[in-house]
């Protein structure tokens, strides 16, 4: 009996242990579906709109899901529409169920915010032609299905400048989630930013294969720090890497949300998303009846992304260097992925003077020179 009771207890405990599952992701292949799908809709009156959000993590992650939730709150405040959200939505069949639940409860606009939600959302969208869908960081598109993303690689380039100027050793660590094009693109842009001010510096990458896993993210950062890195950057949703940096007395670049308070002695800055920019304009177009299926991908210029305020931990002169680069990116005189670019095996990937196209950036699967590590 004791054995049974024990086993039962153990089992009950396990049943409630949650599976860490994570958060953000890429955008993809805008090219093929883009044009003809656009079909103006009749629209929905403001008071009848109910928007459902799917978050891959908890809204208290101080990262990706938090940033989307800020966008949701902005949407409520500016347009006064009704919204609901579901946290911890896995990138599996459960996602499809959550969307059906939301529609069953009267949602007529759905935003699925994580890359792995895409296919599930797309399947449901085809069944419900009157519901408007948006998929954050994805690539799929249909009559009632848009995808949206920020050109956060621009902000990552700026963050790279701050990190490159701070790193005395020229060794920077990068905790990355999934080896998908969005994450690779961000890592590459960051590295290019680092090397624009610190040409010999390297960026060592560790993959966690999860969007949100505070323990694993911190552990990966500790490993990088033990390898001698003196600045840690991240593409994952917890503040674990920043806390690890603070504990080691070195510095960190965050992601998604301003998290200075999580590690005030380590925090330099962070590339930020302002998802509300998209949510407000997208829902407004539904109200106006001008909604069109699109691949929304804007950056610093529209305010969709930005670099957080530089902390006092940043090296002297960082503000000037970052401001100059930001200005050049906005006015178009600096394009992050301009040749000559080599990958980290030494092979030339982009020829001198050539700029990568959106389609190429959206399917990026190689690491630029200066990154230590492999894809996956």
């Amino acid at each position: 009996m004791v054995k049974k009771a024990l086993a039962l207890l153990l089992a009950a405990g396990m049943a409630f242990a949650t599976v860490g599952c994570g958060g953000s992701a890429p955008a993809e292949e805008a090219a093929p579906a883009e044009t003809p799908a656009a079909e103006a809709s009749a629209g929905i009156p403001k008071e009848d709109i109910k928007v459902g959000f799917l978050y891959v993590g908890p809204i208290g992650d101080e990262g990706y899901s938090y940033a989307h939730n800020q966008g949701r709150l902005q949407l409520e405040e500016e347009l006064g529409v009704e919204t609901v959200y579901v946290e911890n939505v896995p990138e599996s069949a459960d996602c499809e169920k959550v969307i059906r639940d939301l529609i069953d409860q009267g949602c007529n606009v759905i935003y699925a915010t994580s890359f792995g939600h895409g296919e599930w959302a797309y399947n449901v969208a085809q069944e419900f032609p009157d519901v408007y869908f948006g998929h954050g960081t994805g690539y799929l598109q249909g009559d009632n299905f848009s995808n949206y993303m920020g050109r956060v690689y621009e902000a990552r380039y700026l963050a790279g400048i701050a990190a490159g100027m701070k790193s005395a050793e020229g060794k920077i660590g990068y905790v990355a989630a999934m080896p998908i094009p969005e994450v690779i693109r961000g890592l590459n842009a960051f590295t290019l930013g680092v090397r624009s001010v610190n040409p010999e510096a390297t960026v060592e990458v560790k993959w966690t294969n999860s969007w949100y896993d505070p323990t694993m993210e911190k552990a990966a950062a500790v490993e990088l720090l033990n390898n001698g890195c003196d600045v840690i950057a991240q593409h994952c949703d917890s503040t674990g890497p920043q806390i690890a940096a603070q504990e080691k007395g070195v510095f960190a670049v965050g992601y998604n949300a301003p998290t200075y308070n999580a590690a005030p002695n380590a925090y330099l800055t962070a590339p930020l998303f302002h998802w509300g920019e998209f949510y407000v304009s997208d829902v407004q177009s539904i109200i106006d009846g001008t909604w069109q299926s699109q691949s929304y991908w804007t950056g610093l210029a529209t305010g969709m992304v930005s670099l957080d305020e530089l902390s006092a931990n940043c090296a002297e002169g960082t503000a000037e260097a970052v401001d100059a680069a930001r200005q050049q990116i906005i006015d178009g005189s600096l394009f992050v992925f301009t040749g000559p670019l080599k990958d980290n095996t030494g092979a030339e990937r982009v020829a001198e003077g050539v700029q990568m196209t959106d389609a190429e950036m959206l399917s990026m699967d190689w690491l630029v020179e200066g990154v230590i590590g492999t894809v996956g």
């Binding site: 089992a11 396990m14 049943a15 896995p90 059906r100």
Partner: protein, 358 residues
Amino acid sequence: MIKVVKKNEASALQANLLRIGSCLAALLAAAMLMSLLGYNPLVVYSEIFKGATGTLYRFQETVNKAIPLVILSLGISVSERMKFSNIGAEGQFYVGALAATFLAFNLPENIPAVVMLPLMMTAAVVAGGLWCLFPAMLKVRFGTSETLVTLMMNYIAIKWVSYLQYGPWKDPKAYGFPKMPKFTENEIIPKVLGIHAGWIIALVLVVLVYLLISKSKLGYEISVLGENEQTAKYVGMNTTKILLIAVLISGGLCGAAGMIQSSAIEKSLTDSMSGGLGFTAIITAWLARLSAPAILVVSFLFAMLLQGSSYLQTALQIPAAAAELLQGIILFFVLASEFFTQYKFVVKKSSKGKGAAV
């Protein structure tokens, strides 16, 4: 001093009163928590009920959740009948799904569903059964604890799925995202009356397991073995053979649940698709006192709680954690009642004088 003492046999009436009482106590305790969090408990409970059965769609979702619970609980009940603690339902679920997926990915696409699905099911049953047979053999040969071995083998199974998902079986068209390709139409269990045909399989299995345990010679032997191994040996039963056959059935059922979940719901295989169902099913099997018809009822009620509280999250915007807390409280009380049907607390007066008590 308070001591825990085994009770005299509680009558069926007493036991049932105790269970009903604990359910009410659970609802009361959960209601207090809800009030503290600022929600009206009556609204919360009625929303849970509405969320689980309020529309045809929600009812179908509840059934979807109940199907794997029923089959897994049946599997667990068979081995628990002979006091073999199968904590490995989760792992058997995954290896079953894994075996089915292996066939799905490797057999030609033009095999019709009527051939493909039974093949996948057979592979899943065999794989699940073998996964459970191994700890049983260790127990027979070396006297190892099946509780620990079956538990540990869960993680081996899940890690195998993770390895394949992040490595060799990763969908090359997913832009590096770690997921496996989708099954094709012939590998997906069709819907009957709006719900995937797994519900028919579950109902048939309830009847079969009931017949096996209550009406067959093997079922009788399993029960005798569970009551007292010495008796079973004394009357000349081949206890090893009975044990091995029963665990094959137990693991096989869990494997079947995995195949159904991967084919009908996930339409692929992922390392997170169970969501702990294999562990939840241990609870439902016990609450049903290992009886097949009761498993059907308890699993459905439990599925209502799961579906209802996921509805709650969006309907009242209660955080996911609070909805889980609610489930936890209800479970805690209901499980505790099982304890009190068999044990009681007695206050014992100290027999020694004052001087001795320091």
